[in-house]
Symmetry: D2
Subunit: 371 residues, 4 copies
Amino acid sequence: MVGGGRDAFIGAVHRMAARLDDRTELVAGALSSDPERARLSAADIGIGADRAYSSFAEMAEREAGRPDGIEAVIIVTPNHLHAPVAKAFLAAGIDVICDKPLSATLAEAEELAALARASGLVFAVTFNNTGYAMVREARAMVAAGQLGTLRVVRVEYIQDWLTQPIDADGQKQAEWRTDPERAGRSACLADIGVHAFNLAQFVTGMAPEAVAADLTTFVPGRRLDDNAHVLLRYADGARGVLIASQVSPGSGNRLALKLYGDKAGLEWLGHEPEIMRFTPFGEPTRILVRGGPGLGPASADVSRMPSEHLEGYIEGFANLYRDAVDAILRRRSGEGASGGHVPSVEDGLLGMRFIEAAVNSSLAGSAWTRL
Amino acid sequence: MVGGGRDAFIGAVHRMAARLDDRTELVAGALSSDPERARLSAADIGIGADRAYSSFAEMAEREAGRPDGIEAVIIVTPNHLHAPVAKAFLAAGIDVICDKPLSATLAEAEELAALARASGLVFAVTFNNTGYAMVREARAMVAAGQLGTLRVVRVEYIQDWLTQPIDADGQKQAEWRTDPERAGRSACLADIGVHAFNLAQFVTGMAPEAVAADLTTFVPGRRLDDNAHVLLRYADGARGVLIASQVSPGSGNRLALKLYGDKAGLEWLGHEPEIMRFTPFGEPTRILVRGGPGLGPASADVSRMPSEHLEGYIEGFANLYRDAVDAILRRRSGEGASGGHVPSVEDGLLGMRFIEAAVNSSLAGSAWTRL
Amino acid sequence: MVGGGRDAFIGAVHRMAARLDDRTELVAGALSSDPERARLSAADIGIGADRAYSSFAEMAEREAGRPDGIEAVIIVTPNHLHAPVAKAFLAAGIDVICDKPLSATLAEAEELAALARASGLVFAVTFNNTGYAMVREARAMVAAGQLGTLRVVRVEYIQDWLTQPIDADGQKQAEWRTDPERAGRSACLADIGVHAFNLAQFVTGMAPEAVAADLTTFVPGRRLDDNAHVLLRYADGARGVLIASQVSPGSGNRLALKLYGDKAGLEWLGHEPEIMRFTPFGEPTRILVRGGPGLGPASADVSRMPSEHLEGYIEGFANLYRDAVDAILRRRSGEGASGGHVPSVEDGLLGMRFIEAAVNSSLAGSAWTRL
Amino acid sequence: MVGGGRDAFIGAVHRMAARLDDRTELVAGALSSDPERARLSAADIGIGADRAYSSFAEMAEREAGRPDGIEAVIIVTPNHLHAPVAKAFLAAGIDVICDKPLSATLAEAEELAALARASGLVFAVTFNNTGYAMVREARAMVAAGQLGTLRVVRVEYIQDWLTQPIDADGQKQAEWRTDPERAGRSACLADIGVHAFNLAQFVTGMAPEAVAADLTTFVPGRRLDDNAHVLLRYADGARGVLIASQVSPGSGNRLALKLYGDKAGLEWLGHEPEIMRFTPFGEPTRILVRGGPGLGPASADVSRMPSEHLEGYIEGFANLYRDAVDAILRRRSGEGASGGHVPSVEDGLLGMRFIEAAVNSSLAGSAWTRL
């Protein structure tokens, strides 16, 4: 693991997710670039002193040289380090599991995707919402034509934790996410908007060809956007709206995906991840429940518990690890690194194109801008 | 009443709403332009044969001449007749209660507003959602600064009844609403989008200065839009999104208003009209209930029932009639026609400007267009 | 109308409900036994001074003698007056619409039912929850066997307004409802428990043969129960629980009915009266919505508005008036007073038997007690 | 681990819960009494062949004798084996983590509790619902007097998976749970009713002194109850209702706790475990959210994720393991085995007394029966 030391947030989540199914072991880490902090953080989580690094480059090199070296690296640093770290491990021939967004800039993302493609290695991007069982089911239903031709895509990711200038007040999580040097050209889109974008793409199987965006910074002194309203146009005529906000009091962490086709509508809410509202036009709405009747293998394959024994955020995240482990095993067995459900470097790249297009559109008076 | 004969929908709603508080009596009507249908429709609802007209012009003239002539007219025709009918009754010195949208074209709306202003008569537009008690409360809370400075306005009105081409198949309600001759330049915005627009304006006390719109017609053969995605910009920096759709399976009639300020957020849903979620930033969300604790006079003034004895669509509509009757009594007592809560011809005009700007923006590649 | 003067609550509700469909006219009243209050209350609501009585006996006698005398009386007094008033009007040959519970004592109820049967007159008891469209639909579904054999009946009516001793503090509505002289042997059961009992009976088509009850008075100084837990046993083996409480903070007015058969389950909540959750065993739960797909004539027959245009408490109450008017017209046309959906004096009597049995059971250590 | 081999359900849940926080390692098991199945099941989950037993007695003896022997045993067998297995490990001086109910009979439970007390060992019973963060918070709120004097306790645990005779059809999970030899005197109460009982006891801090129960077997051929309605009386005058059912179609796994005091009411639902409705009388209902404002350390102490990043069933279960590990470390450090949040053998015993009293009451015509 690179990143994820003391005071970090998402590193611990990755560790729990990776551990849940007992198919991974964490044996090395560059948890901080500060040597002392790196050492202490490693000790906290049982990584031996000999494999506790403070330099990711050194870690990549030395682990690649060990007979018992790591089989994959997990990257949980701030955005701007994703690309340099990933490049180092790709170069060392090590499979990569990287947090989103893929990088801080589109240029880095393009380069990284090219390297990953050339390497033949697994490059998983942890768009964790794709791991929810009912998201998998939704994707299968769309693919099976249960909604008919998709017309309208509405996706939202709404939070409130940046309502006040806590970034200026030194809150660490807020600080780097709103810092152009570390976050990239957008704060809100890079942090959560890209999750919403990816979720819609994952379930619908299609990405918009153009966006018209209105990004705003509401909190005085903040250096990047904290609210984004984005119109979407798809190649086949479908239309969409993507809303991301971190200044919406009362919405702690609200993700929603609503899809409407000519045959049916479907609604999934991130805070009720185990159910889905499905309405074939002209019939009553059905509440589909993970593990319950009316579902197929897509959700069953990633279920650990019976119906209505709630699987939440960590379990969804763990499904990505399950898929990533499968992908790594497939690659090592010679079956190749692609395929499966786990979001790839291409999905990560697409997310970066979305951010780039949305920022450019917003700067151009919300003009329609191609991805 | 003009319009509202057999087979009509909204006429009966107006009659129930007007009757609920026992302050009006329906004594004359031009319920249809077809004489036989007009006669039968009048008989159905107890209007005497001598006051059952088939011409609104004749009705205006003759009622104005009777000593017991009507005190106000209710206009519930398709959109394109709103203006001609209203003009006839204004000219006859009769107060007007008119369904939304104000007219089929912006030019008519401008003319009508000028006539109404000059007349000194009451001109109420039945944007009925403004009648819900909790909508009144929300407006009072915003006005009192409980949300702080408004940053984000999100409003949606979503239906599914036009998912299939029932207009082409002769369904009467669908037919005129999607007919440019009778509906105007937009179907979805004129039918429900303008309700959403007005609701947001009523509660926030402000209208956007510009919109960027993406209107779509999804159903083959349909002549006007059936889905609208609209970005909003307000003079003081607030931003918004307005979504209207009549092709969203599973959403029979879903209206939602969500407001976020720098102090608090507020959410109101049309299908749960008696409650409101209110979240001062940094405090737990509170469920405010009509008639319950924590509310002021704005909702109490329009309540008929104790808390949790559900008042619904008709009751909300009836509150508009209550206000319109008050306004008419005030005007007759010499206090003037303005003031009070009831949406005015100016609100109707603003709605028409919104539709015009949104249609123009959509035709111009979603360019920002001023109202 | 007898009762329902100034300061009364339910009288105004009856008047709105009776007025909504424009099939009744209120022309006479004994709104209070205090002559001055009776006169003023009548004037408030447009009843002429010559038909404003302060004695219900006088009203019954004089109205019966007028050629334009009332066709039916509405009784909205406290419980203990229901029987004497109803007897007076039955004796005068006038149809009766009476609020619940039927009387203050079971003996009165038995006598009244006998008189009503003998009279051949309409005797409607306003168990208003039976008027909700989806309650009608639920009854039809049970009758059609959609739930299979009923096994479990769970019904609750929960409020919080008596959490504190407001009866002792002189709040009028609380005062008479907790006064044994005016309410009868139970407060909570007579006020709301009997509604829950009737709702379950109406929908299931069956009444329990025995109850085991635990009635409690939590508020110090209160003279009757404010909380009731009742087990139910039905003749064919079904079992149930009925809960009524007026001391449950956070529950303003919560009514719930849940039925489980060997084929399906069904849940209806009074605060979301327009929907019903229906789950055939082994299939996804369906959200049935008034006016929406999958429903039959039972709900359509009492709908005024399209789907998701919320009809609430008053509309449900108005459906009882619609049915009562139909029953009165049928009787007058010689078709007889019985039949239709409106709860009868027999239903009122059954409610009184339930209260009696529950009170007796509670006094006997919750022993099973037959109705 | 004893039990939990192939085809078992709850064993895998315990393993995930134990693993989540990385404080335990599973090194030995008697996963089945069938030697071949025991061997294969152990291999499935990485237990070495030398520590894969088919006899729990042998496991207790041999592990106690190893220098690296297990520090605690997890018992996840059917009910009737809980006591014999637990006795064997207590006798071997090994701390016990045992699934609920404590045993199949009250006599066994009494004996086991006595042995556990005498041993000084940790004896944790996995009433897993006590692990939910908001359940912890609820307990703290009750203890702090935020509800005032408790008046009414309502608790339900409702399922539908036994609606049809799948036990007779050989479904393994159903078979043993409805078999008097393996489940004890009650099926529904032993499987889920005791969870509801324990949840109410955990949060309120008090157990009823008497119950009046009506247990029913609805499915023909079933040998034990599948539905239970139980009235509760507490020493200080509080009253309650406990409902458990496994034949309620549409309720996959619904747990609910509602508490009403003289100051406030509180509602928690197992399928929305991260929120709680809290209503101080006379104030608006507040939605308390794990990790959100208005909460204390009780929930924070068992949170892994920020607010609205859903922690579900496994996480709640894992909190019990966290507490059990803490208790074991405390005992080993000489601080003693008692204290902390983890349900003890006394709680397990109380649950058995509840089942015994409820079964006896039901057999005695629902007579009030002391625990």
